[in-house]
Amino acid sequence: MTTSTVEKETKKFIKTIAIAGNPNSGKTTLFNAFTKLKQKVGNYPGVTVEKKMGELVLAKDRVVNVIDLPGTYSLAVRSMDEQIAHDVLLGKEKSTQKPDVVVCVVDAGNLERNLYLVSQIQDMQIPIVVALNMMDEAKRQGKRIDVRKLSSLLGAPVVPMVAKRQEGMDEMKQVVANGVEASYQRQWKMSPDMEEEIENVVKLLVEQSGMSRPEAFGDAVRLLSQANLPREEDVKSGRYSSDFVKVLRNIQKRLTGKGVRCRSAAIEARYGWIKWVVHQTVVDKNIKKNVITQKIDAVLTHKFLGLGIFVALMGFMFYLIFFLAAYPMGWIEAGFEGLASLIAANMPPGDLQGLMTNGIIAGVGGVLVFLPQILILYFFISLLQDTGYMSRAAFMMDRLMSKVGLHGKSFIPLLSSFACAIPGVMASRTIENPKDRLVTILVAPLMSCSARLPVYTIMIAALIPEATAWEKARVMLGMYLLGILGACLMAWLFKKTLLKSQRPVFLLELPPYRRPSFRAVIMHMWERSRLFLRRAGTIILTLSIVLWVLMTYPKSDSLEPGEALRGSYAGQLGQFIEPAIKPLGYDWRIGIGLIGSFAAREVFVSTMNIVFNLSEEAETDTLREAFAKAHWPDGRPLFTPLVCISLMIFFVFALQCVSTLVIVARETGGWGWPFFQLSYMTVLAYVAAFIVYQGGRIFGFT
């Protein structure tokens, strides 16, 4: 065979590459540079791990698939991320092709720890290319790396890169295009006793479970090093026979008897070899060991100054989200209202016009109106993440969050939820532990989002119309605090009961501060926002149409809109649930409002407008006055102070937001958790509103 045919065959061979790497190694930067904007973001089936795929164009007619693996430090399969990365690499994940080449991104300034993953992937006998990223940073730190020697010691091509600036990109593409061969011999060795027993287990696994040798080796190392493996479900499912488990336990006993520390034997041997490799290839002059980062951290994580800056930064972010975003939000609203009236003027009145203006346009507008807030939020999150400040935020907030059993990393998602629970839930992806992440998702909607603001505003206006702005603001703040309190209580409760994990784990790398790339920040912001539009958009639109139908049909002869609404499906539904909500002080009209607010909470206000402004109290000009005049059939006033408070408290706790439910379903990989979330929050809201209303009545309030 000539060289050219070999080359051709390898070329044909490479169809899929996977990008692996530690968190903070610049993995995503490389993926983006590889795939440009041709990316597909989704989830691995049934799990919360994000699946990112793309296409790399090597030449005109040569396109290869690129899989961006979740960033992990190891393939020890202890977390969902590690499990997915492990399964994809071995071709055991059904939704992806087995990669022909793995590009492992390595932080050149932190070679030792990064090579750990490289070594683990090599054990799987998959052809690997090492992307030696952030060479500029390593140079600045006074490190000189002998790339050729590193390549020969690892037995794999090593491409020095600065992915952020596209340096080394062409070389990397060339290496991938030429094909990589797996000619790997394991260099790191454990003690002879351990090696021998590992070999025994490998043989058993190959014979009994039909694993390939490389897979069996990784499995054997894992099984011997972790006392709680194999898991019970794997034995029950027949993956490992009970005889095998017995043999395994005996081997562990034997080894322990000989003084071998099974748990750490492989880790120490691997790191021992890596240390030798690094010693051979890196000249560390150690002139400036992240001096800049140390100086910045001395301020940003300072006892007082650090917290002050953090609070100020978060305050600034919220200022922009609430106040700056209000302008484009106003334009979007006005734009859609203009469009609706334009259509209304040019279309014959009737059902189709109603559907267009009140259903579709109102629905699309209802989604797009959140876009400015989401863009700003993601701009900040990307910026904080890319600079490295996000880790510091988690570092500073961990103590606070650990009080309710959460992780420092839960702070930003929960904070984001004040803008909108959707980006908050999506931001929870940074939390590695699935249980911590789930608890964060479950309590995130208890943070008062901006859609509750209009509801609070109108209810406070009805509650204390004569009060000063300052007094009103205090009530508003009270509602926010109530939400936070509820979130803390529920998080604590979930961690104690349902989602009890052994111990909260907090092992977080604090990477050096890095100058963010504006392009990457914008790209990340756009990618997230697009995801929001696609996921939430379709549902909100559908629901707006459904709600429009519910509120329009069956048609009544009455010319009074309020009367017509009463006869509609929504009105019937409101009357149907009236007995259930009467103990909270609400009548069927508020019931319609509650149902309508499922599309988005602020819809409550516009529904109330239809219910009151245009019904019996149609002469009144503002909603507040309509509220003041509304009464029960027996003449009692409807919106008593107690009802206003009860209603606000209901809104604090209730999950009236289909979009959030859809996102949670996507993020948790099924409808079980969103259904649970809806149930617990509805119960919480009902009970809280009930206690306030009935309790208040007992004490003689009205």
Binding site: R113, S264, K303, F395, D398
Partner: protein, 74 residues
């Protein structure tokens, strides 16, 4: 002595782990293995967790985790 008993900035060497929990192996994989040099860089503003330097990079962990690691001053 245990890692969390170390003074700020004092260079020490990891001796071994005390006991075993679910995170022990993860810590080892992050480079906290016997013979490795370690030092506490700072504590978080609220007193916990702490930031340590290990294998040339910075890692943060809680006091509880640091209480599992036996070290000796260098």
């Amino acid at each position: 002595m245990l890692l969390f008993e170390l003074e700020l900035g004092q260079l020490a060497e990891i001796v071994c782990f005390v006991g075993e929990t679910a995170v022990t192996q993860r810590m080892e994989e992050m480079g906290l293995i016997p013979g490795e040099e370690v030092k506490i860089v700072r504590y978080a503003p609220l007193g916990d967790p702490m930031e340590i330097e290990i294998k040339g990079y910075h890692l943060s962990l809680r006091r509880d985790e640091a209480a599992q690691i036996k070290v000796k001053r260098k």
